[in-house]
Symmetry: C2
Subunit: 317 residues, 2 copies
Amino acid sequence: MNDSYALAVHGGAGTMRRGAMSAARAARYHAGLRRALQAGRDILAAGGGALDAVAAAVVALEDDKLFNAGRGAVFTTAGTQELDAAVMEGRERRAGAVAGILGPKNPVLAARAVMEHSPHVLLIGEGAAALCRKHGIAFAEPGYFRTPSRWRALREMLARRTRGLAGEGEDDDERRHGTVGAVARDRRGDLAAATSTGGITGKLPGRVGDSPIIGAGTYADNATCAVSATGDGEFFIRFGVAHEVAARIRHRSESLAQAAGTVIAELGRIGGSGGLVAVGRDGAPALPFNCSGMYRGYVEANGVVRTAIYDEPYRAG
Amino acid sequence: MNDSYALAVHGGAGTMRRGAMSAARAARYHAGLRRALQAGRDILAAGGGALDAVAAAVVALEDDKLFNAGRGAVFTTAGTQELDAAVMEGRERRAGAVAGILGPKNPVLAARAVMEHSPHVLLIGEGAAALCRKHGIAFAEPGYFRTPSRWRALREMLARRTRGLAGEGEDDDERRHGTVGAVARDRRGDLAAATSTGGITGKLPGRVGDSPIIGAGTYADNATCAVSATGDGEFFIRFGVAHEVAARIRHRSESLAQAAGTVIAELGRIGGSGGLVAVGRDGAPALPFNCSGMYRGYVEANGVVRTAIYDEPYRAG
């Protein structure tokens, strides 16, 4: 029996120009990823469950305004924030998700409440908020989620659209692909995945991406793997990316690395930009992406935390 | 080149006691299914597209108050109606879906509007309604969707819950599994799928089932099959039923009948009740279910329409 634990996280992927990011800013991303990995690792190392670990890691990323989830989420064209999140555990493949909410401080905990306190998998809008209130999930004031940099990103984008320059200058990776997520294997061999996002700057109100869609942005099955994705959400939904990785392992006996790498490469060939983090039954992580970077990290078997942004050597922390 | 067309529809599945349904009531279900099949068949026979055909078939079922979609949708615990729908076409695997809406007369056309008039796949609530208004989708007054029998079903269910009898007497198949859907192959070999539902009586407000979740209740890919499912929605989401049927064909080279039959049988073994309709690349239909009945039908190669409710010989119409 393999009783090692495993954990990987992402903080979004996209077209990231190295030159545009200062060393100080990169260091803040590394630090944010490290904090999330440490939060999850401490639970797993102590024999805690995979679901608790991914929830703790995602809470840390939601609380960090650098990442597009929870505090620091992006804005819709209407200037609102609408948050989505999902969790899934691999033993019974139970799942919970929320979409289009603003209220629960940590959307990932709202998703977990849906899984644990309702017969449903996905709750949207006010119905999700009502369930969270009933079960004591912490709320935050609307102002808590807003940050000046996300507001500026919306205004700049709307100005570009007004000038008919839609698409140009939109190489802000967080605008396009901001999402956070975590996958884990605990010492008992249980897998879990969690994903959380503010979506994309300038999305239509009511738009739901792949993050809260079980099988698209989030999936976990002890028999195969746990997956959390980030990228062009609509592509990830249409191609069922997270479920497809699991399906290739089950039906083709591919390794996790093969399956995850193939799916992300195929997606890239048809124009779907992004990546994912995954852990397999045996705990081996995979962190493929088909764009210039993905904020990401994992915990080594010895407990050392490793983080990276571009196609570059991982930093130990 | 196989230029034959194919079409199959369902109007929900569940635990249906034959004794509880009069011959007259059964005849109304057969007639409703026949109208939907004829609407789609006329388009396909004339060389029309699969997407147009599944939309026409689902519109016919939404307009029929016998079925739990559009007019005649069931009620939430709050006494509201919240409709979900999705469409997908198999050539480029484009998709559109709506959830938690009440306004557009035919939710399936709202889903199609999302696919054709937005960069998104899934829009919920007011955002979806706004897009529909902008693109001239027909709306109906709230009263249009309400029927006395659905209202009675909610009141009876709430009364049972009050008496602590949750679960008992709940063998009303429509309450549990009411959904409508259609799948088609047109003469050019393009596939499409569409699904629409009011959900389940007494669902929490904000609950979204599998119907509008691409890969769960709805999927289409010219390389494999088109699928529309009906059943315990949460199970269908967690197991990615529609995508799993396609995955088994792609990765294991199973026939559509094998893949669809296996997935529905496996789901039944773990307690997930329901069924699906599907057509494959070659146009062969499959209509498996693991419960006592599924309102369903298909069009034979000669254009004859066949419908059935239980595990019984199909009626030609």
